[in-house]
Symmetry: D2
Subunit: 303 residues, 4 copies
């Protein structure tokens, strides 16, 4: 069914009818104090129009949604070679787990768990200066969204660095298995900064058009790469809540602890949702609900 502004508004209103907003991520001070009762949704359609509801022009920290963009940048740069260093399977464990890393000798399960994203960023960095790799990822995001008004919040990046002991553990662990080619501090510095990109839901939905393969999208990602990225978003995009998201929403999606979710309806639409309170998997609580409502209303499930 065609999406209307009224439908988006009804999702928005239904979200505000709920009592439980979840709780913003606590480990990054900049994110911890954000009021949870906020919501935005933006949808870019195949015909070139974008609809929105809520605070769709308010920038938020995209966090792990950035893993999609750094993966796209890295695939563009090194191609399928990346898969010698990182797998393509759901992990069945939490986003920051080291257990499978030990079992599988330093090869992360997929590029969307933290360890896999660190390897992906490391492959993109590839001996260059962090600012060069960052410029590449940020440049790709801006090109996809067709706007230069997207920035990295350096306070958030600094905050992540200060509290990033687990990610440092993962990086050193990867290094101990020979699966890190740059100095861990450089790779992590790049990683922390890319996580601190801020976007509005409208910018994020605009950026997702290339993944959805919409006609009017900038041609910056090869279609074959986009399909593979979408497949990974479907099976691995919500950590150990990925199966549930596929089951309830039926669309590829990638969440971040900042409360953002990028959802792709291939050939149909690019959707971005934001609400900073998280559920117990670390995915946006209201955002996940909104995605399910949208899927139910529109029948956009790929299944």
């Amino acid at each position: 069914m065609a999406l209307t502004q009224a439908m988006l508004q009804s999702i928005h209103d239904e979200v505000f009818r709920q009592d439980d907003w979840g709780k913003p991520a606590q480990y990054i001070p900049e994110l911890a104090t954000i009021p949870p009762d906020q919501f935005a949704i933006s949808v870019c359609l195949a015909d070139g129009h974008c609809l929105k509801a809520g605070v769709a022009d308010k920038p938020f920290s995209i966090q792990s949604v950035s893993k999609v963009f750094s993966l796209a940048a890295t695939l563009g740069r090194v191609g399928g070679q990346l898969w010698t260093r990182v797998g393509r399977e759901p992990s069945g464990t939490a986003f920051d787990s080291v257990v499978l890393l030990e079992k599988e000798q330093g090869r992360p399960r997929n590029p969307f768990v933290n360890a896999g994203a660190i390897v992906t960023t490391d492959a993109l960095l590839s001996g260059r200066e962090p600012k060069q790799a960052l410029a590449e990822t940020l440049g790709l995001v801006r090109a996809m969204a067709e706007t230069d008004q997207i920035y990295i919040n350096s306070k958030v990046a600094a905050s992540e660095k200060a509290t990033g002991a687990r990610n440092r553990a993962l990086a050193h662990y990867l290094q101990s298995h020979g699966n890190l080619t740059n100095d861990p501090d450089l790779t992590l510095g790049t990683y922390f900064h890319q996580c601190a990109i801020e976007m509005t839901t409208t910018q994020l939905a605009m950026a997702g058009r290339s993944l959805a393969g919409l006609e009017n999208a900038p041609k910056v990602i090869a279609r074959a790469h986009a399909r593979r990225i979408n497949a990974l978003m479907m099976t691995c995009g919500h950590y150990d809540g990925s199966g549930e998201f596929a089951f309830q929403v039926g669309l590829p999606g990638k969440s971040g602890v900042g409360g953002g979710i990028l959802v792709i309806a291939p050939g149909v639409a690019s959707i971005a949702i934001w609400s900073p309170g998280l559920n117990h998997y670390g995915n946006s609580h209201a955002g996940t609900r909104a995605a399910a409502m949208l899927s139910d209303m529109t029948g956009w499930s790929v299944f």
Copy 2:
């Protein structure tokens, strides 16, 4: 792109050009001795036509593909209640692993790992005689395929029972956590028999039309259930090779150690492939390749 007979034939020919057929499942004597260099593919399209290539009228043991049908039968009978006993997440471990079962106190990760399928069958059995539950599953398969010429191979069932120590371990383990409601022997007896259903690829492709939501398919599975089953096939249908299948093929699929794969292109086609040699995940080696070729040729990937 529209599928043609020539395309199917070219997949068939390409498969026969390979040297490595994989190795049939060794633990069931009836399956172990099947010559591996066999192949069949059948595709039922939205317009009601079915195309085929190879030995598409030769019955094979569907094994774990039956998990799709018993899940459909169980959802039809007990509905969403099933999800209190079994999860909907990829496991990240082998099909017969007990590790997560211990970690998660007897709740299998999803209905397509063995433990989850045993719970699903147990829920279908629900105090009745095994033959009643079997009649229900087999009846559903026949209705979906619109033929009565589908049978259970009792020799294979007996063979599975004789070599089914691991499945017995899983059943008793589930019982120890209170997640088995029938006598383990009755649930396992039902399970072993449903795995021993034999179908041709054409029958299996016919049966898959209801999951694909094709117009001419018998209306025996609620659309909402079919979409959920497809989602589970996408994230969990190939055990710890599920992410890879989603990545390469981009369609929901369910494999069996008999060498069969059911692949669903929602709204477009139902595909069944058979080749008895397995890859190291326990999925059909040539069948997986053929599915990827078909997806590449047709662009049917949902992504």
Copy 3:
């Protein structure tokens, strides 16, 4: 320091001064209803004397303490061959875990976790009738204790069989790895009966003299075997509480969920303690405390 009756009595009195007795094992109805505030201790010394305090003449279910005797019987029968089927390392996991069993392909870590004890019993059974193997184990216990007044409680054995789903899971799991040579029901039947042996603390302390290598002990266990059994009791005798027992008590010991503990002071004494309430490791709560008090008073720690 030499042990006196007054010392034993002071341990007994101190135990009764505590409020928390722990909770008897709940999964066996016959054990679940036993009042927890009971205590007995018996100590057989190198000079041939036995001291006791509390209800030292009341039979209790020795449960996993029987693993010591069945190990001794099996080593006597098949010797070092047993170690091809079971390891000698602490497991670091709970007594009924299957996780390591999967990781190590059906070879239990040691003979004192359930899986290892089932393999040990299976090796003792070795194609014979369960009653023959049971007669061998019970005969050894009686010979070691120098009394015929030791019996198997068949109601407890039946109760264990009825609630033994986890042990059945372990047995079938072992079978699936080819590490069970008899019918699982026969091995488990033997195992459940040996666990249901009932002894008084005095009988148990008498039986332990051969392990302690006391001069007046019946010569029924080779000294080399006794030393190895003691070593295993030290590193693996209290499941995932073994390190703690070694740390606090400093003596080899083997506990059972019936609340019994056999403690060996090599060359010095054999000690049996009973109190049916368990701590969170599944070992006797008051019994563990009493063992620590005895060790502190006497300096019998081997360290």
Copy 4:
């Protein structure tokens, strides 16, 4: 049986009769190139005499044997408080595993796995300069051995730092769980240096007398602490080969990847053995055999 020089010599000769010396640790360049066919054994007896055979005056890198001394120093400084941060159970996993650390939320299983030793060193450091903590540990070692001729090899320490990615991963992981109180680089710097202490077997045997509680030993470790340390050496001193060492040798021991083993026969003797080739657990191959021979000859097993 009383130990004689002839017995030691026969052990020495038997060791040289073997073909397989194992392989020196490869990850530290300074250790990797050491010729494996070297052997030394020193035994200090209760009567004050020390016997030796082989290259007993050649210093070697004590590596993880230093964990015994840093544990003694830390217990002396902070006492039982240490046990709030580290456990006392065998781990059942390799020395550098992170799996249990994740399962048990940053609390290492025992002070002899790497993670536990890092926490122990961190507790000793306690806000001070690394050189102060090192002086404390080295001072204790020298006092125990009654010689000042014991030094840290700074080239080995630098080498460990350069290749210590896994230990850095562990330290950051501990920090992420709040179980590291100093800057990871300071704690690790201290840790790498303490591992690089070099001693001869005679110095090491002299140092062990306090743990053995020999009459003539310097009174620098409380007897209660020594007994607890010995207990931990018995259950955890050889990583996942600890049960095997207890089974074969029957004495508490602590190994290092430098090829050294400290073995304690409480009240009887302190034994140090060195041979740089390792078995598959990472313990000295010839050293383990020699310890078993010594135990068999003397009957010093505590069991």
